[in-house]
Symmetry: D2
Subunit: 346 residues, 4 copies
Amino acid sequence: MKAGIVGANGYGGVELVRLLHHHPMVTLDLLVSHSTQGHKITDQYPHLHNILELPLEKLSLNEITDRVDVLFFATPSGVTKEIAPPFVKAGLPCIDLSGDFRLKEGHSYEQWYKKSPAEPEFLDQAVYGLPEIFRERIKDKTFVANPGCYPTAALLGIIPLIKEGIAETTGQIIIDGKTGVSGAGRKLVQGSLFSEINENTKAYNLGSHQHTPEIEQVLTDLHGKDIKVSFNAHLVPMTRGILCTIYAPLKERLADADLVQLYKEAYQDEYFVRIRPEKTWPGTKEVYGTNYCDIGVKVDERTNMVIVVSVIDNLVKGAAGQAIQNMNLLNHWDERTGLDTIPVYP
Amino acid sequence: MKAGIVGANGYGGVELVRLLHHHPMVTLDLLVSHSTQGHKITDQYPHLHNILELPLEKLSLNEITDRVDVLFFATPSGVTKEIAPPFVKAGLPCIDLSGDFRLKEGHSYEQWYKKSPAEPEFLDQAVYGLPEIFRERIKDKTFVANPGCYPTAALLGIIPLIKEGIAETTGQIIIDGKTGVSGAGRKLVQGSLFSEINENTKAYNLGSHQHTPEIEQVLTDLHGKDIKVSFNAHLVPMTRGILCTIYAPLKERLADADLVQLYKEAYQDEYFVRIRPEKTWPGTKEVYGTNYCDIGVKVDERTNMVIVVSVIDNLVKGAAGQAIQNMNLLNHWDERTGLDTIPVYP
Amino acid sequence: MKAGIVGANGYGGVELVRLLHHHPMVTLDLLVSHSTQGHKITDQYPHLHNILELPLEKLSLNEITDRVDVLFFATPSGVTKEIAPPFVKAGLPCIDLSGDFRLKEGHSYEQWYKKSPAEPEFLDQAVYGLPEIFRERIKDKTFVANPGCYPTAALLGIIPLIKEGIAETTGQIIIDGKTGVSGAGRKLVQGSLFSEINENTKAYNLGSHQHTPEIEQVLTDLHGKDIKVSFNAHLVPMTRGILCTIYAPLKERLADADLVQLYKEAYQDEYFVRIRPEKTWPGTKEVYGTNYCDIGVKVDERTNMVIVVSVIDNLVKGAAGQAIQNMNLLNHWDERTGLDTIPVYP
Amino acid sequence: MKAGIVGANGYGGVELVRLLHHHPMVTLDLLVSHSTQGHKITDQYPHLHNILELPLEKLSLNEITDRVDVLFFATPSGVTKEIAPPFVKAGLPCIDLSGDFRLKEGHSYEQWYKKSPAEPEFLDQAVYGLPEIFRERIKDKTFVANPGCYPTAALLGIIPLIKEGIAETTGQIIIDGKTGVSGAGRKLVQGSLFSEINENTKAYNLGSHQHTPEIEQVLTDLHGKDIKVSFNAHLVPMTRGILCTIYAPLKERLADADLVQLYKEAYQDEYFVRIRPEKTWPGTKEVYGTNYCDIGVKVDERTNMVIVVSVIDNLVKGAAGQAIQNMNLLNHWDERTGLDTIPVYP
């Protein structure tokens, strides 16, 4: 099967390159980049030297549908909604890593992204690609809205609480997110400079991060009733990795061991979700470069709260890896295909 | 005035060296170290070469009370309680940077520190040295329990909420702390190795961090009623800096501008507390190497919560700098003496 | 084929685990660790959770020769020479990642390692495992001394100069090495603490690094006459990666383009050596996690010197990856087997 | 005395702000910035909040000569030569941190900087401000060309070798420089992004760095005969700090102890140059935030070479600190005034 990547020049795009190159069922055949068209990918990323000397091409509907069997959009939010629809319409399986097709309600997109939403027809067609939760919905579709990085870590951490009905759900779920800088992409912004980030931890977009409605939409969908969360993001001085610390009031007392057991059962069939033993919690480095989501939990008995720590590599399970997991699912391949690697540690 | 440091060989001790060297009213005259006695401080810390070639001496009651006018204990928790009392009894002004004399209730110390507590007589004598809040209590004492690093950031962030009665105080205050690695000191532990910390963010001591009762003790003292907090710590890949993100439910609706104003008024006379304008929050690098505590706030209207972001340099306002601020206070000097420097940025 | 690792608990050992797990021809079946025997590898390395739950066992000659077909020694220098010989004698294919069997002359080992050397019989049996240079010698042996990290980068950088006779060889070759901290292993030493390494670059072992005679031995072997180098090492604040900058006086004038061409030809059949285009030089991140050695060159016309920049991942091409390349060679498999991955970037 | 800074918005400018604020003889009164004129400095640098709320103003000859007594140019190379001359002509003491007035030969500037040089009249007037070497020349001047960061570290490291005539000077001096990223300034370039720099060490501008002729000019001046060096630069993942490793062939054999002694004597009256004991070499962190240049030396007897390791903080001794040292010298103040602080460690 032949795959193409639109937006191959960004960090999400080049991570797709890395993972697709190792995928036994796929040949990477087409790289599209608006900004660096005409160059070779190795001009932008010398680490690919001798391995993948593909040109960066321009976007062309007819040619692309002829050349590839699946197309990944690693383009920024606000861009995919403009360029993906013709490919979707043409029936080409498309997986979008941007935020453009995740929110079902256009007005919500408008409010949080400060941009006009995609056409409702395509919002309807797009399935939210969190395989551990929505496997059945995804597998027969051809257009996937790949989840955001924070929502992936947050949702996999929260959902067992909601499904099992053990946490209060009335506006008291707090998600304190910490991310590495690669999530901001390769854009030239002052806040991404090494000298600004190194030896620095800072909060950003408090109360207004665009991943908030995405998290709420999924939780509300699963719960049947409105769920609100307070999601707040922080930047820490590392390249890869997201850690979400989730706080929720417990409905009734629960022992640590039971909480761990509950999570183990919730994810017993999930290869990519690993639950840590009691009183241990994962670090982001323990999933570095892989599609794992590692989770540790804790009951804070004094305040009757549950604390969940969930980590992913933002570029893999939070972006390119999960996109490939979705591709595997669309093709009824084993979801682990091309993704069963060991984290790079240390 | 002559000053001595017990435990000069740790990171807290050597930060006291740095700051005291610049203090116009004090001469640093005595360095004590149990583990490296007989060496010079420059053998341990070559950055002091040619600047401070003092020997590391052993602890000797009679000699020390003769030689210095103020004594800092930068020794680990569990150690100060064994060695400080004779100096306190002898009437020498003592400032302890460990956790041994902060908790007024011995059983609480025992529960959280897993060690037997200090003698009640000395617990009674020790005043909790958070100058912005307890200035009046401190200034006539001679024995100061210098606050912990996390409690300093957390308390300065929370107290205005409690004092003004705008947050719910019934078990729903959450403090999500992020710290650099220098807080763990120069001890040889696997978790402090560069290769383990770099590109890694992890949670630790969830629900069981020994700084929890210290925060609660102060809040309860100020509020008059029991306050419980859920304090949870994270390690991020940087050397210095603590950022606490504090979440508390609001009693009633409040605008961002009013919340900022409330904080500005609460700290209008405090040189070392700086309140950020609306919709901006500080990064740890913005207080690097200084005694500042920078605070930014946010009302999350959707969940009716207040979010407070509070940053300090854990080795300065969280340890050595605040100890010197306390020394200034004991001596009725301007609290800023020796501490009015600009953060090292970038 | 079944593989075992002695010293599985160090960074070199755990990198072997990562790479062998992905190797299509090998099953990892045995982990030996002296210091942590009785634990599971996942107790030491939670990133392996659910992937490889093997126990750490003790060393037992009879059992091991029965259970595995190849044995890797990722033990420290000074240890392998004590424990490997019985396995070598028993005819089990052994690959040693330590420095114990690299130097052919016992007195040289003694001088540089400050330890007594291995038995001459085993020094004779061990072949120096730099496949790009000694492929023919290696492929029929069963005992491989895997090259050091610095020597790998330095030798692949220097050898074309020597082979082509374009550099002066009389005591004027300088190698300025820069390494990440993982090369120092997981040992608890003050100099490996995050707070000591971060924001720090320092020189160490100037003129006395034990990798010096290893480099000279190979160059002298290839050149036929004595070659001396001045090799000097530096520690930079990163986990993985080595960059060697090599300076050598040119015999006669040479253009940049010709020098690049000379290197391209020298390595035209080598998959793992990639030569950069004129006026570009590799960064260590461009080989992160992989077995590549990337090289860029430059003629400094003003001083008539050649400058070679050579980078590797010290844990892969500088240790575990090259060991697997040697295993492939011993078994007459394609050398790339299990190693043809793309660097993790960024 | 009142001071002004042109280019206050860059890292060199804001480091001048930090250091001048602590200077007892100077009031910082004027900040000029072309790019951010009209803003306050705290909009650009929130770490200055409440400390220095000065506006960023535009450049105006008449007003400035009235308002300040000394003017620092922290503007980029190519800019100072266009804007400084009128101030120099007006007799205002000016200290330029750019490279525009360091090279005495216009054609050399043109060759290495690829720009047209400054007017010869102003090149003649500018004195090269390396106080340890040219104190006597500097103290009666009013226009100082502050040395580059690499040249400061390199020259202080090399000069004793040249002055004492112990190294060969015929084209065989090699300087291998390693720098943190802050030297590249706050400009938005891809190569300064955190995700590109972190876990990366790379070479740049091999054989063509514009600091080469600056080093050669000074050495030739002192030696009386032409000296050529091969200077080559590397970027390491840290914010501050430069380490130069210098290699030079010895004329005759020399013991380590004698070499250390020679350096100690060469700098016995220099407060800011600290020589390390035999077999120890400084790390960049040991001068962090200060004006020190720390030097360690080594004779490599096997190759008859001398190795010198020299470290500075590129923003202090390599820029703003040295500029203030020059200001002190111009005013016949103690050179240490405002600069006698202890490095921030760890």
